[in-house]
Structures are given as structure tokens and as C-alpha cells.
């Protein structure tokens, strides 16, 4: 076994351009449709377009997972997790900008 070359694999990018159905998003995050609905109602994730069937961008997976672990580990409620995620996004943007501006 040890001498075997590791298997090579790859997969699709789940970015802004990829679209997931409600079912696919639930499966990807290990969560229920009710939970996803609650996140949509809280404005944490937004369905794409205006069709009657929800489609989600691939970046939603990361947000849903983050909300899940923030709630589980820090005891915040949905509104608190929503606020934390927005602030974390902002910090990420500012840090990327800071890294650029601080270059010699």
C-alpha cells in the first residue's frame, strides 16, 4: 500500500459562477431545507435570479458551514451569526487591501 502512488483527483470549482439547487446546497452542507430557508430569510445567503426554483452560488456553501460552526461553537443565534459573517467578510477584504498597501 505504502509504495503505491497516491491517487490523483480533481473536482469542480464552487465559485460565483457555479449554480446549486436547494437540494445540492443542503447535501453539500449536511443541512436541511428548513435551515437553508432560515438563512435566506435572515439574508445570510441569497438565491440567484428571480425564478420560482431557488438556485444558489457555490460560495454559499462556505457561508452556510460558517454559520453552522459559529452557532454550534460560540452559542450565537442566527442574527448574531449573520452579523459575525458580514464583519468577517469585511475584515477579509480589508486585510487583502492592507496586504497590498503595506508592500514596500
Amino acid at each position: 500500500m505504502a509504495a503505491m502512488n497516491p491517487e490523483e483527483t480533481t473536482g469542480p470549482i464552487l465559485g460565483e459562477e457555479s449554480e446549486l439547487t436547494l437540494g445540492e446546497l443542503c447535501r453539500a452542507c449536511g443541512t436541511s431545507a428548513e435551515e437553508v430557508t432560515a438563512l435566506v430569510e435572515e439574508g445570510i445567503i441569497e438565491p440567484l435570479g428571480s425564478g420560482t426554483r431557488w438556485r444558489f452560488s457555490g460560495v454559499c456553501i462556505r457561508r452556510v458551514r460558517k454559520v453552522y460552526s459559529l452557532r454550534r461553537d460560540l452559542g450565537v443565534n442566527l442574527a448574531g451569526a449573520a452579523l459575525a459573517i458580514e464583519l468577517l467578510d469585511e475584515i477579509e477584504r480589508l486585510q487583502a487591501r492592507l496586504a497590498r498597501l503595506e508592500r514596500p
Binding site: 490523483e8 470549482i13 464552487l14 435551515e35 462556505r62 487583502a96 487591501r97 497590498r100
Partner: protein
């Protein structure tokens, strides 16, 4: 196996009450939570904190731990005495809050294995997804650091996966497996790739779960990245900026010749359209000009600066009224 001092990990005295324990845990959890923290080793620290809280928040486990542990030093070699837990019963439902897959050998030798197959059912929001026998394996999530160049050219990174598998003796154990992951071209910071079937194995013939790999870039000597946009700082001499020049600049795609227009200003940006991250809609690369004046080190240099000042009627502090 090393003895773990759960009180010390949470910064508590042994006599701490339940409210103090919760407060200490919440404070540390906010500080070291891997989704929030920028501290070094946040993930490791967070696991330790969660494990300590898992034991101390539960009066039953805490009493058992207290009875056992007063004589040990942290890190000391530890063996649980035979029959140490008689009189205690650890209810299986007690592992719901933390991610029990992450607990230490020390924890498992005392309180049993909380992760593994039992865990494959109860996770997800609320932990209420109980399904009998034919279950898809859990999805797993991990982060990986790559170089910016990997996103331009595609590259391969080796990762090690740890899976819980059922051993020949019927007990779950951890198995490590190496995997070469081809990085798809055009990926940006924070995006994930889905590796189908590389999550936890299924149960009772169920499909394995998927692995979601979140991508992060290693810091780069020349470039900084915001989304699909890449920035490069380009130092220029004052005469190149003033007179214009043609200079060779590096890009992650390879060097290009760039025309600097006359009278370029410090901090000015030149856009190389489509030379950012090659996503479906490629990003742009911005060259940020950084005009650097040479130090005057010889008499000839000083003379050049003097002639420079005579040639200009230039006051950089005109806004300050100076």
C-alpha cells in the same frame, strides 16, 4: 498518552463553578475559533478548548475527571487506572455540541470514542438527521494553501486525508490516505473544490461523502490578490516616471514589456486587462507605480539634485501653505 489538565487549558482554578467554566470557554472559543481567529495555531488551540469544555461542562464527566486527576502534571505520561470509571455512566447523547472527531486520545481513553460511525448520523444542524443503516458518508471540509501560480497554470498538491474506518476487530480507527489534488485553473481565494467520493465512507453500502477543499493562497513576494484582481508593485526611477519608459515586469503568466507613459505619478495604476486570475471571466492585473528617488551618496549625485532643484519651480507642500 499525555495527561491533559482541562482546568489549565481553560485558565481556571479546580474549584471553578459552572458559570465560570462556561464564561472561560466562550471567551477562548471566540478568540480561537478557526472561522474567526487569525491567531497562530488557532485550530489546534480550539480543539483543546472544546475538549476541555466537553468534560468540564458535564457534571458527571467532570466529577470522574476530578476524581482521577488531581495528582497529575500536564503532559505527564498517563494510564487510566483499571475500573476507574465505575460508578459513572457516560450517556451517548453528551457529545452533541462540539465536533467530537477532533478529541484527543486522552479524552477517548477516559470517555470512549465519540466520533467515528456513531457520529456519522447526528451531525449537521440540530443533529436530528437519523437514518437507519443505508447512510451516505459524511461530507468533510478542509483548507489547503496553494501558490498564486497554481491558479494560473493549474498545479498538483498532495493532501493527507484521515478517515474513520471499521477495523477487522469491529472497532473504528483512523486511517490516513494520501491524495494528489489537481488544482483547477482560475480558482480564487476562499473558493472550494468538491472532490466527489473523498469524504467519509458510507454506511451499509451507502455512497461515500464528498470532500470540500477551501483554497487559500500563500503570501507572494511580488503579488497581492483581491478576488480575481492581482496587484503588482512596480518601482520606477523618477526619470522613468517623468520621461516614460518601457520596462519588463513579471506577471504570474511570465514577463511582459510594459510601456510607462510620460508623467506617470507615484501610486498610479496601469491595467493589464485579463492578466489577473484566469477565471471564466478573467480578472485584471494592476501594476501600481512606486516612484523611488535614489539617495545622494556622492558629490556628483548631490550636484545632480542641485541642478534638478534649479530647473523646477516645484513645491510639494503647496497644500500645506508652506
Amino acid at each position: 498518552m499525555e495527561y491533559k489538565d482541562y482546568y489549565q487549558i481553560l485558565g481556571l482554578e479546580r474549584g471553578a463553578d459552572q458559570a465560570e467554566i462556561k464564561r472561560a470557554y466562550r471567551k477562548l472559543a471566540r478568540k480561537y475559533h478557526p472561522d474567526v481567529s487569525k491567531e497562530e495555531e488557532a485550530e489546534e488551540r480550539f480543539k483543546e478548548i472544546s475538549e476541555a469544555y466537553e468534560v468540564l461542562k458535564d457534571p458527571e464527566k467532570r466529577a470522574a475527571y476530578d476524581q482521577l486527576g488531581a495528582g497529575y502534571q500536564p503532559g505527564e505520561e498517563f494510564r487510566p487506572p483499571p475500573g476507574w470509571d465505575s460508578g459513572f455512566e457516560f450517556h451517548g447523547g453528551g457529545y452533541t455540541e462540539a465536533d467530537p472527531g477532533a478529541f484527543s486520545d486522552f479524552f477517548e481513553s477516559l470517555f470512549g470514542r465519540a466520533g467515528g460511525f456513531g457520529n456519522a448520523y447526528g451531525r449537521g444542524f440540530g443533529g436530528a438527521r437519523r437514518q437507519p443503516f443505508h447512510a451516505q458518508g459524511e461530507n468533510t471540509y478542509a483548507k489547503i494553501n496553494i501558490d498564486l501560480e497554481d491558479s494560473y497554470r493549474g498545479g498538483t498538491r498532495q493532501i493527507t486525508l484521515k478517515h474513520t474506518v471499521l477495523g477487522a476487530d469491529g472497532r473504528p480507527r483512523i486511517e490516513a490516505r494520501k491524495l494528489n489534488v489537481k488544482i483547477p485553473k482560475g480558482i480564487t481565494e476562499g473558493q472550494q473544490i468538491r472532490l466527489a467520493g473523498q469524504g467519509e465512507p458510507g454506511i451499509g453500502g451507502g455512497q461515500p461523502g464528498d470532500l470540500y477543499l477551501e483554497i487559500h493562497f500563500n503570501p507572494h513576494r511580488h503579488y497581492s490578490v483581491e478576488g480575481k484582481t492581482v496587484y503588482l508593485n512596480l518601482p520606477l526611477s523618477p526619470w522613468e516616471a517623468a520621461l516614460g519608459a518601457s520596462v519588463q515586469v513579471p506577471t504570474p503568466d511570465g514577463p511582459v514589456n510594459l510601456k510607462i507613459p510620460p508623467n506617470s505619478k507615484d501610486g498610479g495604476k496601469l491595467r493589464l486587462k485579463g492578466r489577473g486570475i484566469p477565471a471564466k471571466v478573467p480578472g485584471d492585473l494592476y501594476v501600481v507605480l512606486n516612484v523611488v528617488a535614489p539617495p545622494a551618496e556622492t558629490e556628483a549625485h548631490r550636484e545632480a539634485y542641485r541642478r534638478f532643484s534649479e530647473a523646477f519651480d516645484f513645491n510639494p507642500r503647496v497644500d500645506m501653505g508652506g
